[in-house]
Subunit: 428 residues, 2 copies
């Protein structure tokens, strides 16, 4: 493996072999390096789980409360979805993790037989709890209001349930227990998701807490029975905010734990360039430390641009609520050639009157069920009328769009066309 | 044919042969009579249209603004839906009938290749316009407020558009022109849909106006080109309120026009028994007059009970918004054995806490996509969380439920089990 190109203090680490995760495997089949120099390294691979194989790079769709909004599981499958994510925070409050287990786990509960991932609950506690949302974490929002978050201490976090107003605590051990009950294939350790506005001292203390919670999460994982739907694989989370040394330190710490995979979380900066730099800081330690490659997930990021830049840094999987959220706001992802302007937005809003008489599909080259059957003019009509089916039709398209994008990313790596295809998708 | 069992004044009528409607046919394959004496006569048959054959008795699902709420066309088809209805009133206001034609007609616009029906716009003008809704027409609501309806005169009706507030007029000729543009297989004449509270004099005058409008509708139909999606068939509408002589007179008048089929509309009384009587009044003339059987539609009626009683009177098709409306309110149709009490409601509301831990499907004998994949407990969770997918999942079930109900009605006629099956569905 390559050596890290910077000072680091860790002198040893023990990386367990993959066989610690029965039913799981990660294989890298091709790596493309060299465009802008190391550590850029886009890679093709596959993650094997007890519920199927995920070809990587891959997009993970968000089914917040156990439902991919506007898309039923068989529709998601028909649009070539590989993996879906549920949020422990929402599911623990309603219907409750134990009840999910009683339903046979999240796979069976929602009727999805493919791979599933759950986050630890940390992101929602800290982002919703502080009155912010993803934007705040991502740096574009700085007015912080305390809402549901009550306290963070060594033991865990406490907050008010938005379902019934009761006080709820979540410790690292709770999070693992809930995720065992929910039963997703891939589960995450509890972290404190540090927001953008905090200073270096707070970020450093928060990172240390996250690391202590990580060790407790690992212990809880190792001491617990397998999940409600079989064996599970644990991912660690790299924090450290936008501070070079902290991000690297957190990455080295994370890299030496016996995780199946890693996730990069927390504040990644306020601009795409900053995000790119912060991700790069984490990648070198993660890739250098392991005796075998481990899948790396970038948390809560997934614009077209982010995907190409993340993959260039070696990211294997992404998740983002945008495909279904955009649909609920009447918007559809489109390819570069169909944008309003060169370098224009990655999506169009069907509410716009210019689509009133547009008899073509969202994208004549798209093979989704929506583009095969209805026109932009009809979608404009449905969006304007506030019809439910607009959300379903746009969500189906957006899911297929993201899956096609990732298919193109994978083909670009396989066919040595990464730079050309990235240029088409971002600048085209 | 049988003779009518009452006085009537019409002495002659000319019934054109079916060949006036190229591409259309109606065939009765079996009739069951005798349970409670003539005119009870449940019948099996089929309506052939340019977009496919409808096995009757059949249920027509409402896609008000050109979308069957919560169910995409390919899902409706998978759940064995035979025919869908669009509302001319809503479609003429938005996106506009001409724009529907520009999109290739309603079939192509919404991506549904099967048979379609449109109403004339009359029902919505008069029910919404008078501040009431279906309940008012059906007799369970009597507080009449004027809202959008501005005037009714010999020429037609004028009202305010709920889309942009402009004054809109709708004449019989307009309605036919709009329905030609929308292009459904089966279209209806414009009628004044008389509400429940009005007296005999008003009902009589209204019926006369409806008859004059009917003659103008027929003339407009005969003088116009075929619809945007090919040949169309015209249905007349029987009015006359709850008054015996008026209902019969309107039925005789309707029976002698060159329609492909008939619809029974307007106020049918305030109770199931009254509805039964009013429908019976219309049926004898409709069946007696024609030289060949014509399909008969019962407008806006479609509970489980209504279907069995309507079929017993000879009704071939029903439409009702309940399958999708109930779903939007968190409810699912269930079979008699699964009701809360004997003779209890035909549906259950999944919001009820008793479903929180109910791990079974809505109906273990149902073969819909929803019952095949998720539990009542999951649906309870989604309904409580206000998740969009609850509507989709419940709508799919309710559509399949209604189609299965009608399959059972057809089998009951074919197998001489009508009384037994009706008893199971209504009293079971």
């Amino acid at each position: 493996m390559m050596s890290p190109a910077y000072d680091w203090t860790m002198t040893s680490w023990l990386i367990p072999p993959m066989t610690d995760y029965p039913g799981f495997a990660f294989e890298v089949t091709r790596t493309v390096t060299g465009e802008v120099g190391w550590p850029d390294a886009a890679r093709r691979g596959s993650i094997t789980t007890p519920h199927g194989v995920i070809e990587t790079p891959a997009f993970v769709f968000c089914a917040t409360r156990g439902a991919l909004r506007g898309v039923l599981p068989h529709q998601a499958q028909a649009e070539s979805t590989q993996i879906i994510l549920g949020n422990t925070y929402h599911l623990m409050l309603q219907p409750g993790a134990e009840r999910v287990a009683a339903m046979g786990g999240l796979h069976r509960m929602m009727g999805w037989d493919g791979p599933l991932l759950t986050d630890s609950g940390g992101f929602q506690i800290f982002s919703l709890g502080r009155g912010g949302d993803m934007k705040e974490i991502k740096g574009s929002r700085t007015d912080v209001r305390d809402t549901s978050l009550l306290a963070i201490d060594e033991s865990g976090a406490s907050f008010r349930s938005y379902v019934d107003g009761t006080k709820v605590t979540l410790t690292p051990e709770d999070s693992i227990r809930f995720q065992r009950d929910i039963g997703a294939d891939i589960i995450l350790v509890l972290d404190e998701c540090t927001p953008y506005h905090v200073n270096r001292d707070y970020t450093a203390q928060s990172m240390e807490l996250t690391h202590r919670w990580a060790l407790r999460s690992i212990a809880a994982f190792e001491e617990s029975e397998e999940g409600s739907a079989g064996p599970q694989a644990l991912y660690g989370i790299v924090q450290g905010g936008v501070y070079d040394d902290l991000r690297k330190e957190s990455a080295w710490f994370t890299a030496e734990q016996p995780y199946f995979g890693y996730a990069v979380g927390g504040c990644l900066g306020g601009t795409p360039e900053e995000m790119n730099d912060v991700v790069a800081l984490a990648m070198a330690p993660l890739n250098a430390a392991a005796s075998a490659p481990r899948p790396i997930h970038l948390l809560g990021v997934g614009s077209v641009r982010d995907v190409w830049y993340g993959v260039a840094k070696g990211i294997d999987t992404f998740d983002c609520v945008n495909p279904t959220r955009l649909a609920r706001h009447g918007s559809a992802y489109i390819r570069p050639g169909l944008r309003e302007t060169k370098n224009g937005r990655e999506f169009i809003n069907l509410r716009n009157a210019r689509f009133r008489d547009d008899m073509g599909p969202l994208d004549p080259e798209c093979d989704c069920a929506t583009c095969a059957s209805v026109s932009r003019a009809y979608l404009h009509h449905l969006v304007k009328a506030g019809e439910l089916n607009a959300v379903a039709l746009l969500s189906v398209h957006n899911v297929r769009f993201m899956n096609r994008l990732l298919e193109d990313v994978r083909a670009a790596i396989d066919n040595d066309e990464f730079v050309e295809r990235r240029s088409y998708w971002i600048d085209g």
